[in-house]
């Protein structure tokens, strides 16, 4: 299996789906040149400027137009540039995209994929570092996935594009250059199928996207002291694979939930709730959560690191869950 970066795996997914279905087109700012993260590079050359549309800086019109196109036979893939800027198209995502099928009484589908490059990394500052998936978790009508590896990136993006419903794909910015094996061609990962990234008997650690990588580092550190954590990656939050999560908890009886966004009101609260609902009696200890501090993301590297979830934080939470000194 070839090794690709996460970014190139996404590029391959776009390329394959555009070749497969001419209704698929891309729209965003500066995507013709592959800006800002290289994911769309070479696609304008391959498919023409008509299918790789460099839009004006008009997020509301970019997303809104894609909603209009989706309801009239096209399958747009929208590049949000930075997920932070979804704030500039919030109405289009929430009131038009997510709700219209339902409010139309099911008259048509809205097969739109919204690519959301997000997250903390490289001191990009408070307007370019946010995790915004919690907003959309509370917005019925959207499916959400967050790939953590190059293979998942390809498989989930391809699935998202073929889905007849709106899917938001959250791509953690710092993962774009991470490499891993990626199946060639037809590689589809269904939404709602979690993946155990590392098995372990002691504690279930639930994490998505870049937090999976951080959790895997924590797993190595903990393995050194004989603690085996199981890293479970839900891969999609809507739909959510409750069964796999519950099965893991039934084995470990202890749970740590890791997320990159702020703790208060974060997706971890929802996951904690789901686990509790599904496996309350299995829990031998209170659930623990590791999340960003409840502040915007600051600029200076020292501060940025101070607010972000770190390996050390996961290690401490796992130990706490096991009743050990943190």
């Amino acid at each position: 299996m070839p090794e690709l970066t996460y970014g190139d795996a996404l590029n391959a997914a776009l390329r394959e789906e555009m070749a497969r279905d001419e209704r698929v087109y891309l729209i965003g700012e500066d995507i013709g040149a592959g800006v800002p993260f290289g994911v769309t590079k070479g696609l304008r050359e391959a498919f023409g400027a008509e299918r790789v549309l460099d839009a004006p800086i008009s997020e509301a019109a970019i997303v809104g137009s894609a909603v209009g196109a989706a309801m009239t036979g096209m399958r747009p893939v929208v590049d949000m540039h930075f997920a932070d800027f979804v704030t500039c198209a919030m109405d289009e995502v929430v009131n038009q995209l997510a709700k219209s099928r339902y409010m139309f009484g099911g008259q048509c589908g809205f097969p739109l994929t919204l690519r959301m490059p997000y997250g903390i990394g490289k001191s990009a500052g408070g307007h370019h570092s946010n995790s915004v998936e919690a907003w959309f978790l509370n917005t019925p009508g959207l499916k959400l996935c967050l790939p953590s590896t190059p293979a998942d990136a390809k498989g989930l993006l391809k699935t998202a594009i073929r889905d007849d419903d709106p899917v938001l794909v959250f791509e953690q910015r710092s993962l774009y250059r991470v490499t891993g094996p990626v199946p060639e061609g037809e590689h589809l990962i269904p939404l709602g199928r979690a993946d155990v990234k590392r098995p372990g008997r002691d504690v279930t650690v639930i994490a998505t996207a870049r937090m999976v990588q951080v959790a895997l580092e924590a797993a190595d550190a903990l393995a050194a002291e004989g603690i085996a954590i199981e890293v479970v990656d839900p891969r999609s939050l809507v739909p959510l694979d409750v069964e796999t999560l519950a099965a893991s908890v039934a084995r470990t009886h202890r749970v740590v939930i890791v997320e990159e966004g702020p703790l208060t009101g974060g997706v971890g609260g929802h996951l904690a709730w789901v686990v509790m609902e599904a496996a309350f009696d299995e829990l031998d200890a209170p659930l623990a959560r590791v999340a960003a501090a409840d502040v915007p993301v600051p600029f200076a590297p020292i501060l940025e690191a101070a607010v972000s979830p770190q390996v050390s934080g996961i290690v401490a939470a796992v130990r706490r869950t096991l009743g050990l000194a943190a």
Partner: protein, 323 residues
């Protein structure tokens, strides 16, 4: 179409909207319909004129004041009324309501509870037509108040720079709820903004359905030919309150009284007379047919079943979760 035929058609359409809106007003007042209702009484000339300039396979994105737009686009009166009743037979199966009438098959891509939201949607519909290599056109309706929201700017610029087959139709009725046009809008008109985007802008008397039709037809022709969008501003008058039940303390009663002198239906009748083709019998038959259709639609809605509570969970996804 020759003018006599067109004028007669417009008369029929405007009459149909007029009578439907009047009936809705009365039914709503009688407590038969839940929710909020915004009527287009007095503004029917705009809907009629625009609708007549479109093909069945063209599209419209609409507003909270959209009943007339829907009917003029070939919408189903039965399914409209049933939706206003919240019945299972409504065009949105009772999930939408007055502010969210939609009929995709009729090319009516939704009223909208969010002002100005329809303009970006229309750009995408136009883009879709372009990419699918059809010559379909999309009209985006919006009010004078809605013209002050950002998506107006983004959409008009996008359509202009990509030469999308979109016609932006502003219904300027002088009011945005309680706020007078001039108090909220700089520049004196909406159409004044067109030149900044290098697109044609045209003001038209919205109470003259024939004039609206003419201006729209020209803009539609241009759009179909691939020459890009136009901005029309139809000046008209809102006869009712902003919503049904609006006490309207903010506006002078004389305004509507004066406005009624420019009744688009009367003006069409006058035009038919001037063309020498007004026929009392035809008018009577048209009126009767209109009322008969309306009576039937109301009866249909009344007799239709309510949705079932369990229906509330359906229609969210094409592929429901868990399937």
């Amino acid at each position: 179409m020759d003018e006599p035929r067109l004028a007669a058609d417009l008369y029929r359409t405007v009459l149909r909207i007029r009578r439907a809106e009047e009936r809705i007003r009365d039914l709503y007042a009688a407590g038969r319909m839940p929710g909020f209702i915004h009527l287009s009484l007095g503004q029917e000339g705009v809907a009629g004129g625009v609708g007549a300039a479109l093909r069945p396979d063209d599209f419209v994105t609409s507003t909270h004041r959209g009943h007339g737009h829907y009917l003029a686009k070939g919408g189903s009166l039965r399914r409209l009324i049933a939706e206003l009743y919240g019945k299972a037979t409504g065009c949105c199966r009772g999930k939408g309501g007055s502010m969210h009438i939609a009929d995709v098959a009729a090319g009516y891509l939704g009223a909208n509870g969010v002002l100005t939201a329809g303009l970006p949607l229309a750009c995408g519909v136009g883009l879709s037509a372009k990419l699918r290599r059809t010559d379909q056109v999309c009209v985006a309706f919006f009010g004078d108040g809605a013209a002050n929201r950002g998506p107006f700017h983004e959409a008009v610029n996008l359509a202009a720079v990509w030469r999308l087959p979109v016609v932006f139709v502003c219904e300027n009725n002088g009011w945005a709820s309680t706020t007078a046009f001039a108090a909220a809008t700089a520049g004196g008109s909406i159409v004044a903004r067109a030149s900044g985007y290098g697109i044609p802008g045209l003001t038209v008397d919205g109470n003259d359905a024939l004039a609206v039709h003419g201006a729209t037809a020209a803009a539609v022709t241009r759009a179909r030919a691939g020459d890009g969008p136009s901005l029309l501003e139809a000046r008209t008058i809102r006869w009712q309150g902003h919503f049904e039940g609006d006490p309207q303390g903010y506006r002078d009663k004389t305004e509507v009284a004066e406005g009624r002198r420019s009744d688009p239906l009367v003006r069409l009748a006058d035009r038919l007379r001037a063309l020498g083709i007004w026929d009392e019998r035809w008018a009577k038959e048209t009126e009767e047919a209109t009322l008969a259709e309306l009576d039937e639609a109301v009866a249909f809605a009344e007799a239709s079943p309510d949705p079932l509570p369990g229906d509330a969970l359906g229609d969210l996804f094409v592929r429901p979760i868990g399937d």
